[in-house]
Amino acid sequence: MIAFNKYYNHFNLLSSILIVVSLLLLIFKGLNFGIDFKGGTLIELRASDTKINVSSLRDRFNQMDLGDVSVKKFGNDTDFLVKFENKDNKKNIIEEIKASLDKSFGNNYDFRRVENVGPKVSAELLKSGVIAISLSLALMLIYIWIRFEWQFSLGAILALFHDVIVTLGVFSLFSLEINLSIIAAVLTIVGYSMNDTVVIFDRVRENLRKYSDIKIFELTNISINETLSRTIITSATTLLALLAIYLFGGEILKGFSLAMILGVIFGTYSSIYIANTVLVRLRVSQKTVLREDDQK
């Protein structure tokens, strides 16, 4: 048996620091919103001429008066991602850009993807993204409230917040782009983290009923150990699948799979070191579950 409970305090401290740092990052550095949420235009471009590179593209685009332009390599040496604000929301902007690029590069490039999100739509997408995440947290809260005692709910929700905030914190730290698929990833993380926590909690409650003489501090450790191989195997297979997406699923899914990988790691960690410690700190005992059983 591994003594997970020996490190409860250490990891609680670590998590608190992580959460505070993430919140500070989110407040002061902010998130790098993609065009889905900020509005603007994105062009994925493939070049067939080595003359076309990040700096020559940047020069060309900067001459076009498009506002803030960012040019990046995308995956391999011939693919580039160009993003700009398109502040005035010009109508025929793509045609103008094509004409301008034709002048410098001839026909040696190809637009593989064009996305243009107006300010109204991006504001709505952001709003619905925030609503979706809040709604999912609320639904999880309600679900766990119905299924478990309030101490458990609190533990699970704290673990959830931890996972979401720290994942977003990592995105902020490395200025990784937040787009629609990241919202999908965050929601899935919420589901996964909850799933992981609930499996351990299920066991904690079962053990609470079974043993009246073991303190919650010990009991959580027993429960974690009993479910440990399941936790490891499920996390491992999920991570293997995600790793396959990250490495082979193409550039478009990179951000999504990275967010999910982080979320699975944090989710697994938090169900052990946050959800359970909440039970310990709230001094959950056999009475907690038995009282509830009586009511039912």
Partner: protein, 517 residues
């Protein structure tokens, strides 16, 4: 938990085989009359264009209010009530009447049978709201009135958009309403949406009006620019004929001076009016105005009674074709703005499919190897279950003709990763049971029973997340929600029926063996 009746085994087998067949119909071509359902590929996988259009209703509202002022004036004139100082400000009509008439006017607007102000009994609301501000009387559209107006202009616009898109002849376009002022256009396989965008961006409001020098024209005048030059001309607001009077329009080559022109045919009313106007207006210039710009303003040389004519204006063949198309499909009730556009080229779509499939294959292999190494025989059972699960999932998607997107493929891979969870929960539980229980059958049974709540909880939480994503997400993300959500059900089915069936057969044959798992 381990007992299966023969009937149930039969049912599980038929069900699984059926879905495997359905899923494989995406790979092999079956006879269409027998089964023609297929998983649709999203625009991000097959390439194509997604356009979200917003109808700008402001001009429509302005126009309606403008018409309304005339209607109000005439309506009360018949009743010998004089309307004074009528004007439009900020989408409100203001006017004055003498105090003695005030009540009568208010009554007309508030009468449920009023023909001036239609009443919608279903919403218990009039089209217009009236208010006596003391200073004057204020009339504006009620909330319901505005909604009606918006939905009706949306209905008209979607019809015109459909006609224009159909005329260009793209592959299976998808044109849908969004809210009450938006239209979603999905154009699969369209690599370069520029032409469609420019066609949808035009209102195509065509009018024929005389150029005039008379500033005091009874209908009012306006200065309009020419389409191809900076010149301006003063044009009467009186409309001789408009786009509505057109029966047909076609691009043509004018053989005399080698110009591309658009020839048109008018309906009976239009022909009559056109004939009359051209007979009285010989020598005058007739301006052909499209969306507030003069295309050309030829001099009328003869009476045109045939009801057909032509527009010249320095067209290329392409621009003449487009103008004819716009004229044939009719004018939009209001301008459209493209507020969101996403276009994916077909080669990027193919690359995404390839990458997604490779990731799926590798993810699948990794999970299968991992499970086999970890659980040996029971790993094999899990793996068979996984494969069947994947087929059932694809089968369900096929049956509902769901749209598969790139995030959707990610959802399938993720399902593969998470699907083992239920089996692992069960196997781990069985292992624990076997510590105190020597009877294999009882231990296995206990493992299944005792792991049930945890499995249920775990799947419900993921399902909740998927449901929210489905309703809140858009486009590709929705595809992810679908595969993730459907994956939960197929996983539960395959774990509780297929894997359990194999397990029970194995346990029944080896019930006296030790260390079964």
């Amino acid at each position: 938990m381990l007992y299966f009746s023969k009937l149930r085994i039969l049912f599980i087998t038929i069900f699984s085989v059926l879905f495997i067949l359905i899923a494989s119909s995406n790979l092999f071509k079956f006879d269409d009359s027998f089964f023609d359902k297929k998983i649709n590929l999203g625009l991000d996988l097959q390439g194509g264009s997604y356009l979200l259009l917003e109808i700008d209703n402001e001009p429509v509202i302005e126009q309606k209010l403008q018409n309304l002022t005339t209607t109000i004036r005439n309506y009360f004139k018949e009743k010998n009530i004089k309307i004074n100082n009528i004007k439009i400000e900020n989408q409100n009509i203001f006017f004055n009447v003498i105090d003695n008439d005030k009540q009568a006017v208010l009554d007309v607007f508030q009468d449920e049978n009023s023909d001036l102000n239609p009443y919608y009994p279903r919403f218990k609301s009039h089209q217009l709201e009236i208010e006596d501000t003391g200073l004057n009387i204020k009339v504006n559209f009620s909330k319901q009135g505005l909604i009606k107006l918006k939905t009706s202009s949306q209905d008209q616009a979607i019809e015109i958009v459909r006609r224009r898109v159909d005329e260009v002849g793209t592959n299976e376009p998808n044109i849908l309403k969004r809210g009450n002022n938006r239209i979603l256009v999905e154009l699969p396989g369209l690599d370069d949406p520029m032409r469609i965008k420019s066609l949808l961006g035009k209102t195509a409001n065509l009018t024929f009006r005389f150029v005039t020098n008379d500033e005091n024209d009874r209908f009012g005048v306006e200065n309009l620019k020419f389409e191809n030059s900076l010149e301006e001309a003063t044009v009467s607001k009186r409309i001789i004929i408009s786009g509505e009077n057109l029966l047909d329009a076609q691009p043509k080559m004018d053989t005399q001076n080698n110009q591309t022109i658009v020839s048109f045919t008018l309906d009976r009313v239009g022909a009559k009016r056109f004939g009359k106007a051209t007979s009285t207006g010989i020598g005058k210039k007739l301006a052909i105005v499209l969306d507030g710009k003069i295309i050309s303003a030829p001099v009328v040389r003869d009476t045109i009674a045939s009801g057909s004519g032509q527009i010249s204006g320095g067209f290329t063949f392409q621009s003449a074709t487009d103008l004819a198309l716009l004229l044939r499909s009719g004018a939009l009730p209001a301008p459209l703005e493209i507020i969101e556009e996403r276009t994916v080229g077909p080669d990027l779509g193919q690359d995404s499919i390839n990458a997604g499939m490779i990731a799926l294959a590798i993810g699948f292999m990794l999970v299968i190897i991992f499970m086999f190494v970890k659980y040996k025989f029971f790993g094999l059972i899990t793996n068979v279950t996984l494969i069947v699960n994947l087929f059932i999932l694809l089968g369900v998607l096929t049956l509902f003709e769901a749209t598969l997107t790139l995030p959707g493929i990610a959802g399938i891979i993720l399902t593969v990763g998470m699907a083992v969870d239920a089996n692992v929960l069960i196997f781990e539980r069985i292992k624990e049971e076997l510590k105190d229980e020597t009877n294999n059958i009882l231990a296995f049974d206990g493992g299944y029973t005792k792991s049930r709540t945890a499995i249920l909880d775990a799947n419900i939480t993921t399902l909740l997340a998927a449901i929210i994503l489905f309703f809140m997400g858009s486009g590709p993300v929705k595809g992810f929600a679908v595969t993730l959500g459907v994956g939960i059900f197929t996983t539960l089915f395959s774990v509780y029926f297929i894997a359990r069936l194999f397990t029970s057969i194995y346990v029944a044959r080896n019930k006296d063996k030790e260390k079964l798992i």
